[in-house]
Amino acid sequence: MSRKFLSGNEAFAEGIRLARPQVISAYPITPQTIVVERLSEMVEDGSLSAEYVHVESEHSALSCAIGASAAGARAFTATSSQGLLYMAECLYYASGGRFPIVMMNADRSTALPWNIYGDQRDSLSQLDSGWIQAYAENAQEALDLALMSYKIAENKDVSTPFMANLDGFVLTHTYEPVDIPDREQADKFLPPYETDNRIDFENPKNMAFSAGPDTNYIFKFKEHEGVLAARDVIAETEKEFAEIFGRKYTGLVENYLTEDADYILVTLGSIAGLCRETADKLRAEGIKAGVVRIRYMRPFPHREIAEALKNAKAYGVLEKDISFGSEGTVYTNVNSALKKADVNIKGYNFIGGLGGRNISASDIEDIFDGISKGTSNVNFIGIGGDSNG
């Protein structure tokens, strides 16, 4: 093991080097660019043996990765924002074909207006694309996710592509000390990719075919079950990871002081740290605050969220996203989880960080204040409730 001072992007690239992808399709977009730059350097210096393909667009980046995966190779690509939207067609293609590609997405605002800074509207708009979606909080988790992602995605019961999301700039460009696992240990943890879902010269295959109404729904059911199977596989993978590398992760969610909390804030990504600090401060003032950090939006932690929130008096969902004309998508998902589990407590949605707008400690204190005293259903930080009341 070695320790380096790395940005989120660089840490993720280090994790990918350890995962030994055989084909990397690369197209630059801010704030993802550092990842493909570092990977090109690793290929150049021989520390990563991969076909590095300079594709001419994000659509081709993922289309190329799908082709490589269909050839039986481990494939990697990375994108952000407009790039993710440009390749959207291929997202559904990769998941429908059950190709366990890993893609890093630097979460970034979507145009218009143009903006390069971080919010999560890009990836959250693609929740239905059939990909596993993880959200990292810090650079270490980013590196570890890169390594774990292939093991989860390539599991035979899962066979689903994996999108690892890093908040643009706040995480992708922020430097932290990061532990880098040894190559031998990484190889022990992640064996080479084996699959039957590939081109085979001994027993030729027809792939990515059509399926009519008589079987199409069966393929879709199996795809759904594959993403659901990731629930257990993520737990198993994190257990094995902890045994080898010593770092423990907590599955689909990470709870902080939720057990006896009256007021719980549910969030995701890099903002969670500030939420926890705020909870600590409120606790010192006698307010029982807690935080749930969603680590995986797909498969969605229905049970885990209901379990964490069931004894609270009220909760809030803080997200860098808005589904226009409705509410934040994370809020919708959380509410569904609670409804199914018969948890009937007051909930409020807080939309913040759009276009990279800072979310301050006092913003989060205000959010907890709103949760405890009651506020509008959907609140834009710095503006107030929407006209839906």
């Binding site: 429908g96 074909g97 059950r98 066979s159 039957d196 879902n197 590939r198 027993n203 030729p204 295959k205 027809n206 792939m207 990515a208 075919f209 399926a211 079987t215 069966i218 393929f219 059911f221 199996k222 594959g226």
Partner: protein, 96 residues
């Protein structure tokens, strides 16, 4: 090996593949029903020049002992073979 018709034609839920990857050249139906006319080879005229074999869009013509032979399971009756044959060794006949 050319694709061929298999015995197993329908797939239950458990038999449907987990992914979109399946045995190549797996056929469950023929195309003979498309045809209103069929090509018939006149073996007395056919010299096995293979032009019909080369130009058949469906690949249903093979050459055996220097004579053209047609797989009527998959011939759609387009008639390109009859048009291409310079010896008029193929005529199109109405399907009864």
């Amino acid at each position: 090996m050319r694709p061929y018709v298999r015995d197993k034609k329908t797939f239950s839920q458990s038999e449907v593949p987990e992914n979109t990857c399946f045995e190549a050249g797996y056929l469950v139906s023929v195309n003979s029903g498309w045809r209103s006319i069929r090509p018939v080879i006149d073996n007395a005229k056919c010299v096995g020049c293979q032009q019909c074999y080369l130009y058949c869009p469906d690949g249903v013509i093979s050459i055996n002992d220097k004579k053209a032979a047609i797989d009527y399971d998959f011939c759609k009756g387009c008639g390109i073979c009859a048009k291409i044959c310079r010896l008029n060794a193929i005529r199109m006949e109405s399907e009864r």
